[in-house]
Symmetry: C2
Subunit: 176 residues, 2 copies
Amino acid sequence: MSLRHAILGILSIQPMSGYDLKKTIDQSVGHFWTADQSQVYRTLAALVEDGLASRRTVAQDERPNLHLHTVTDRGLVALDEWLASPLQTPPMREPFLARLFFADRMPPEAIRELLDVRRREVSEQLAALEAIAVSVDDADIGQVLRLATLANGIAHAKTELEWLDDTARRLERTAP
Amino acid sequence: MSLRHAILGILSIQPMSGYDLKKTIDQSVGHFWTADQSQVYRTLAALVEDGLASRRTVAQDERPNLHLHTVTDRGLVALDEWLASPLQTPPMREPFLARLFFADRMPPEAIRELLDVRRREVSEQLAALEAIAVSVDDADIGQVLRLATLANGIAHAKTELEWLDDTARRLERTAP
DNA sequence: CACTTATATATGCGCAGTCCTATATAGGTG
DNA sequence: CACCTATATAGGACTGCGCATATATAAGTG
């Protein structure tokens, strides 16, 4: 649904090829959005088709040609409409919690292991986020907002780790 | 992917009709999973097709007939295999953060409003979760795990609210 | 020369899920 | 009697997306 809009947003800051767009998504907004490579190209094609972006083939000497994508005026309007449109909370779907909910079918040590694996994953995520985050003084609104999205991921990762500790403790107190 | 398994899990606790299953999903696991009604029926049909569940038509006097679904032995095996299988973290997708990331295209008061709307939504979610949560002493492992999934939602909701406060404060300090 | 890697774009296949609509039974309400 | 609500099941159309694969250019490596 809003990969379209995320792409419009990125292209509105910096026109680029599908290839660079995929890399930008992974690097700059990867902490709150992911996109399959083929889906990026498909979505770009759809945006051009709908007149929200335009493409210009750029010949390169030492690399294959690329399509440079730029947001059109109509694209900017669509982007701003999306930004101003009512928030619709996406359907909750937490596969890890789904497992935990039914995990009492497994022996206690398997449950502990499940929590441990989760802890390792979240720890890695947290480390990756903290490696990106930099404190900025004298920031403009855009920088503050972008940093806030990072801070969001960091805060939730820390909460998840605390909750894992708490849950593991409760389990130890319960398991025989 | 794991609606199949969530359904197997629920049916392993209590055999029921598709209709009741949909209600159970909304009420009991709604804080970490949602499912469309038609998808519930389709998934049930697929489970029966694959021999993981069986259905028995139950005639009712004062209501339409229903299909009572029970997990088969093979279904229980599939459920346990899923529980023991490696966790695969789902792709990150946070539409709200996506918006916030590009929100500096909007005037400051629209950004404030975006944060406020989010705060109201999360507050409601938190209230709903806290209304369900009950403290239980003398709980078995299953109860501890089920409560933990609730506690997870509550912890993250609180974190989100704190982060919203923090972000709003930073914005006030930045905006002219 | 064959192979691998990076750059760059794109299609085919198929699944899971959403939205909408249809169908049927039965009780309650105006 | 018409209408609404709850119970109960299900199909059609469509979308977004993931995975695999194909294609092409060019540089570097063994």
